[in-house]
């Protein structure tokens, strides 16, 4: 589904919404704080046949299910040793080519009422898998030995009608499903054909959890999450509802991961440690999303509206049009134009990566879900 449909607001309503979101502090239609998420209900392990699964239900009635299936696949080694995996000190691997590894995760997104080759759906899937693949620590976990790796199939299904842009919902559900994913325990050693323990109870988690739950998570890595953040004026708003998105100046999909420590982060990712509490968050990817606001019909200022006697003022139609497309008139809706402002983008990213900030809050909340 595209981010651009289903906006059924009049220009006046849009203008009102935009105005109230531009206030400091912004006033959101549902009364949330700018960084506050909508309440959600989550559970894991709902599909017994999968390696991991989760379901999340947002309060607005949108609901998604994600199932993760893993399969053993032979690693194809390129002719010139491209993509060759070199064993590191901790039995981990350095990636060589990287292209080979994108194939290790296959993601399908299904949105009811939308064709699966719809550009919006494809874009959603791309964004979600991009976030996963950008985290090389994640792909590393799928390595079995030089010759074999796990291939993950993530099946993401939105089971409710797409009431709002489902990116955050799908991302959080995927995150939770991956958290609950277990892979059979490897019994063979070295580069042998893999041979697994047939005891499911012995299967380790893809993202191993420390023994004591809760607070000791700091050093542990987690699957990445992709958040939807938007800005109206200088205000940064998290988890926007459909209506809010309709007036966004900028909308960004930001993928972050809670890296264990900065030492692990390669140099191309700038560690964004801003405080000493909470997790080390790493930025994985950013994508701007074309906000639906761009396609909204503009409002017409009274001055230009003939019904309000615009023509009576003897202005030429030429002038009236100039007003409509030119400078903004206070209180009259006008679709945002141009790219995002650099300052706003910077602030936005800063806000996301804030220690003890929104992301931490979300991760904490998901941490609390029992991985039964």
């Amino acid at each position: 589904m595209s981010s651009t449909n289903h906006v059924l607001l009049s220009p006046a309503e849009l203008a009102y919404l935009h105005a109230s979101l531009s206030l400091t502090p912004p006033i959101r239609p549902d009364g949330r704080a700018p960084t506050q998420f909508r309440p959600l209900v989550a559970e894991t392990g709902i599909l017994p046949g999968t390696n991991g699964s989760a379901r999340i239900c947002f309060a607005d009635g949108t609901e998604a299910i994600v199932g993760v299936k893993a399969e053993v696949e032979r690693t194809v080694v390129g002719p010139e040793g491209e993509g060759v995996i070199v064993e590191g000190g901790e039995g981990e691997v350095e990636e060589g080519g990287g292209e080979g590894e994108a194939g290790w995760v296959e993601m399908t997104v299904e949105i009811p009422g939308v064709r699966d080759d719809d550009s919006g759906t494809a874009f959603l899937a791309a964004m979600l898998s991009e976030g996963l693949l950008a985290d090389e620590g994640f792909v590393r976990r799928l390595w079995i030995n030089r010759r074999f790796h796990w291939k993950l199939y993530l099946d993401i299904i939105l089971i409710s009608p797409p009431l709002s842009y489902p990116l955050p919902l799908l991302s959080l559900t995927t995150h939770l499903a991956l958290l609950s994913t277990r892979l059979p325990r490897l019994k063979s050693e070295g580069d042998e054909d893999p041979f697994f323990d047939d005891d499911w109870a012995a299967a380790p988690y893809l993202f191993p959890r420390p023994n004591g739950k809760s607070t000791t998570f700091v050093s542990q890595t987690r699957p990445p999450i992709t958040l939807l953040v938007m800005a109206v004026g200088n205000n940064i708003i998290f988890d926007p509802s459909k209506e809010e998105l309709a007036v966004a100046d900028v909308a960004l999909a930001v993928s972050v991961t809670a890296g264990s420590s900065s030492s692990q982060a390669p140099s191309k990712h700038v560690p964004m440690d801003t405080s000493t509490e909470g997790r080390n968050l790493r930025l994985l990817s950013i994508r701007t999303i074309d906000p639906p606001s761009r396609l909204t019909p503009p409002g017409v200022a009274n001055a230009a509206n003939s019904a309000y006697g615009a023509n009576a003022g003897q202005k030429t139609t030429h002038e009236a049009q100039a007003t409509a497309e030119g400078e903004a008139v206070e209180g009259v809706w006008r679709a945002p134009r141009g790219g995002a402002k650099r300052m706003v983008l910077g602030a936005l990213v800063q806000k996301v990566l804030e220690r003890g900030g929104v992301v931490d809050e979300v991760l904490d909340a998901l941490e609390g879900v029992d991985l039964g």
Binding site: E43, G49, S188, D193
Partner: protein, 986 residues
């Protein structure tokens, strides 16, 4: 939002549902998580005849009768459980001591838990099959209780609990439930329910929970005659103590992990194959692997690494500097390890001093060799994929028993020497040494630790005194895995109700006559060996008006009596073939059919399956047809009678003339076959003559060959070929055929070289025709037997013929090399071979006589049948030969004769002589030649052994020698065999 998961608290039926989660790895390398829902029920009966409650809910058959309960209402008691008891063994009890449960002295009323059965199947399929056999036997009263599906006994796995612990808990829970359940029946004497386990932890927990439990040894001690049974408990009881006992270095290299082996095999670095031990040298094995045309050699204990003949092993090729020639020495285990003490545990060296010496000589010899490139690649065993251990027949090595312990009941360790020389000595712990010495005993191999030089095993049962006919015959049958137990009732139930009174129905309207031709008017006769009771073929011929000749081969219509897929058919397909021993016949089909109803006896009407040809006077087939028929044989001749009759010019009756016609035709047929390149092969065949009353062997005779034998043979071949064509045409994918692969040329390398060097003869193996011709050329005018000798040796280079399902091979592969026939099957002996029976069914379907039965069509099933009958066929041959060898030994007992023999094989320290008169081969070692052992010079190039010193002779291959044949009881194998001494060299 409510959860989508099945909530266990609110669902009233939640208690009835459980699930089982596990990981399944498929052959193709896929790994799947499998979730199975388990629906728990309460109507699974306890099957105790004491219980009324279960009877009400027990499953019923179609007639509404509940299935009869198994466990006795009055089970036997023991010293500890005088009120009677039911046994509930856990998995390791079955794994370690299945033989105990098969005892008839004890172990009745056993509850086999489903969880135990499943675990057993995963661990050992043969043991599982034996247990299934036990549960089917009515008198043993074994009952399979599906504890996993019964609500009360189902156990969910706790968090952090290992699978084994969970299964043990399930066993304990089932035991506890049984006890409670039986207590509720209100019976006067409630039997105890006793868990049997060898797992210390499990026993301890049972004790804590107050569940009656015993270790196997403790339990057996409670029984009468327990001491005897104690031997059947293998000694691997306590792994921990065993480890403490021998802290010494492991003697053998450790096996690779399964996954490492599989990876290696897949990548072609390791090779998988069946391990075969050389019959002459127990330290030399060979493995035929798909990657190489010639087998790989495995030399020495360390490289053999605990594999036993028949195991499926994985080997690694050794570096080239360790390649060797196959040994030219005879090395027998008993001779070299004679004085080993089974009790004294190995002192850290697997290769004993003497073995090492033998090896040195080997190396010396290899090094003195001038010709390079003779060395063959060698390999070492790195792991065993599948053990192929069976029960072995042997006897206790008397030399290794200490005198002091000959009496008394003390447990002792002895060596058992298996009858089969390829099997290593087995260490055995027993309390009944005194009783077992001098007996044929059956033992099972339990394990072969890295730290033990010999495998360890346990005693199963005694077959009787050595050299008694009963014991030796049974030993033979066991060794060759011949099913010799009487037919079970279910099989006998399949026989016609009329029994011996069965007759071909009088009325032609009877369904038995449907589509049957009435051939009672034909002059049919049968020709068989003397005393043959299961006559499955008969013949006739008559001239046709057009100058051609009608020839009919009539085969017993066994498929009329043995319907597919009934108990009799299943039994026959397992037996595969009738086994002929010298004094005994082990039938494939019950006597009633084999020797009466199916047998084409003279003067009575019998159902038959007829192949009728119209042959031109030159024995060309004009046409052929197949029909079910009714025949009446006019006479049952023996070969000799028939021969006499044919030779007697005075006999001019119609029957004799027709036999003469057949004989003339058969000669032409044979000539045609020979022209096509059929081989006339040879194996030394003898016949043992028995005294009629006591059936003691009195003399040995070589079989004579009569023309009438080849008469029957030719027409049987003709019938088989004709039938093969027909069924292949009708069922191109599933016809059951017989092929004989062309032997690889390398098989003949040795023989060709020997002939070239010794006789200047050339062996051409390009085709069967060329081989036949060059075999014909191998004659020595002064020694008529030489040709036969070469044929015997050539036969040993051949592949074995095999049954197969036509869909598994390409048409050119159907070829029968020996018979030089494009296509071949077995059709003519359905009474004694299952393949023929299957061919009958296919032919009946092919001519539209009956509908195609699914079993005739299913390729998978037919392949399994072929595989089994190939093995059975081979075993039957081996058993037959072994039986003859035994009786030859018995016939020679106490006699010494001088005979002519021929040198068949030559080693650096001995040679093998074949004595055609008795059809026996004997090994003459250097040390047998004279005392002290003469020095010898062995020239492998010219196959000559020259001795000097105490006795000077020169022996070479193919040489005719004079040997004295006596009987001798081999102290080591306990076999009475022939012993040969060299008298002189011609």
């Amino acid at each position: 939002m409510s959860s989508l998961k099945r909530s266990l608290d609110r669902d009233p039926f939640a208690a009835n549902i459980s699930s089982k989660v596990y990981v399944r790895s498929t052959k193709s390398g896929k790994v799947q998580k499998i979730v199975r829902e388990v629906y728990l029920r309460q109507d699974i009966p306890c099957s105790s005849k004491l219980c009324r409650a279960c009877l009400a809910t027990a499953p019923q058959d179609a007639a509404g009768r509940p299935t009869p309960f198994v466990l006795s209402e009055d089970p036997a008691g023991t010293a500890v459980y005088p009120q009677g008891h039911y046994l509930v063994p856990d998995t390791n009890a079955f794994l370690t001591a299945m033989d105990l449960f098969e005892q008839s002295a004890a172990f009745y009323d056993v509850v086999v838990l489903q969880i135990v059965l499943e675990e057993l199947r995963n661990r050992s399929l043969p043991l599982y099959n034996r247990l299934i056999g036990l549960t089917k036997s009515e008198d043993k009263r074994f009952y399979v209780f599906f504890n996993e599906f019964r609500l009360e006994t189902h156990v969910a796995r706790d968090e952090g609990e290992s699978v084994n612990d969970r299964n043990d808990r399930a066993v304990r829970k089932a035991v506890a439930w049984y006890a409670q359940h039986l207590a509720r029946t209100g019976a006067k004497k409630v039997p105890a329910v006793v868990m049997l386990s060898n797992d210390r932890d499990n026993l301890r927990k049972a004790k804590q929970e107050g569940i009656p439990a015993c270790s196997l040894a403790d339990y057996v001690k409670q029984l009468k005659d327990g001491d005897k049974l104690l031997d059947m408990i293998p000694e691997t009881e306590d792994q921990d103590t065993a480890k403490e006992k021998r802290p010494g270095e492991p003697l053998y290299p450790e096996y690779f992990s399964m996954s490492k082996m599989m990876t290696g095999v897949k990548s072609g670095l390791l090779h998988q194959g069946i391990f075969n031990v050389s019959p002459y040298n127990y330290l030399e094995g060979s493995i035929r692997v798909p990657a190489f045309p010639k087998p790989l050699l495995v030399l020495g204990r360390e490289n053999i690494n605990r594999s036993i003949d028949g195991d499926l092993v994985v080997v690694e090729v050794l570096p080239k500097d360790q390649w060797k020639e196959p040994s030219t020495q005879v090395i027998e285990e008993d001779a070299i390890t004679k004085n080993e003490n089974p009790d004294a545990e190995e002192t850290g060296d697997i290769v004993s001093e003497k073995e090492r010496k033998a090896l040195q000589e080997e190396v010396k010899r290899t090094h003195t060799k001038t010709t390079e490139g003779h060395a063959q690649p060698t390999a070492k065993v790195v792991g065993v994929v599948k053990r192929n251990w069976r029960q072995y027949v042997g006897h206790i090595d008397q030399s290794a028993i200490s005198q002091s312990t000959q009496q008394g009941r003390k447990q002792e360790v002895v060596f058992v020497i298996p009858m089969d020389k390829k099997i290593p000595k087995i260490r055995l712990r027993t309390r009944q040494v005194a009783e077992l010495v001098g007996k044929r005993i059956l033992v099972t191999v339990d394990a072969w630790d890295r730290s033990s030089r010999h495998p360890t095993g346990h005693f199963v049962r005694s077959l009787g005194e050595l050299e008694t006919k009963a014991a030796e015959t049974e030993a033979l049958l066991l060794e060759y895995d011949v099913q010799y137990r009487p037919f079970p009732k279910t099989v006998l139930d399949c026989l016609p109700k009329e029994g011996h009174d069965w007759k071909v129905p009088q009325s032609m309207d009877d369904p038995g006559w449907k589509d049957r031709e009435d051939l009672r008017g034909l002059l049919i006769c049968s020709i068989d060996p003397i005393g043959c009771q299961d006559i499955d073929d008969a013949l006739h011929s008559r001239p046709l008006p057009n100058g051609n000749i009608e020839v009919g081969v009539h085969i017993a219509d066994v498929s009329h009596f043995v319907k597919p897929n009934n108990a009799m058919d299943a039994e026959a397909s397992i037996r595969g073939t009738t086994v002929y021993l010298v004094d005994k016949r082990i039938d494939m089909l019950p006597m009633l059919l084999g020797t009466d109803l199916c047998s084409l006896k003279p003067y009575v009407e019998r159902y038959a399956f007829s192949v009728l040809w119209e042959l031109s006077p030159d024995a060309d087939i004009v046409n052929v047809r197949f029909t079910k028929s009714v025949i009446k044989s006019r006479e049952a001749f023996s070969y000799e009678e028939a021969q006499l009759r044919v030779d007697d010019a005075a006999q001019q009756d119609e029957l004799t003339t027709s036999i003469r016609t057949l004989l003339a035709l058969s000669r032409k047929l044979k000539q045609k076959r020979m022209d096509a390149g059929a081989l006339s092969l040879s194996s030394p065949e003898v016949k043992v003559q028995m005294e009629s009353e006591t059936s003691d062997p009195i003399d040995v005779k070589t079989k004579e060959h009569l023309d009438t034998m080849s008469l029957v043979e030719e027409f049987m071949l003709l019938a088989n070929v004709s039938v093969a064509r027909k069924i292949h045409e009708a069922f191109p994918q599933t016809a059951i055929l017989r092929r004989h692969g062309a032997p690889p040329k390398t098989n003949f390398d040795e023989l060709a070289n020997q002939l070239r060097v010794k006789r200047g003869l050339d062996l051409n193996v390009e085709s069967s025709r060329a081989l036949a011709d060059s075999l014909d050329a191998c004659v020595n005018p002064s020694e008529p037997f030489f040709n036969t000798l070469v044929r015997i040796m050539a036969t040993r280079c051949m592949m074995a013929a095999e049954y197969f399902c036509s869909g598994t091979q390409a048409y050119p592969e159907f070829r029968h090399y020996g018979l030089a026939s494009e296509i071949y099957t077995h059709f003519t002996s359905p009474i004694r071979r299952y393949a023929d029976l299957a061919a009958h069914r296919q032919l009946a379907a092919a001519i539209g006589y009956e509908a195609v039965h699914p079993s005739v069509r299913s390729r998978g099933r037919l392949e399994a049948v072929c595989k089994n009958i190939n093995v059975r066929h081979r075993n039957a041959q081996l058993a037959g030969r072994a039986s003859i060898a035994y009786y030859v030994g018995q016939a020679l007992r106490g006699k010494a004769t001088e005979e002519d023999g021929f040198v068949l094989k030559i080693f650096s320290n001995g040679f093998v002589v074949l004595v055609p008169r008795f059809g026996v081969e004997g090994l003459i070692r250097l040390r047998d030649l004279a005392e002290p052992e003469p020095a010898a010079e062995f020239d492998a190039e010219t196959y000559t052994l020259r001795t000097s010193g105490s006795r000077e002779v020169e022996v070479e291959l193919f040489q005719k020698v004079r040997v004295r044949v006596t009987d001798q009881k081999d102290e080591t194998t306990g076999k009475r065999g022939v012993k040969m001494e060299l008298v002189s060299v011609y």
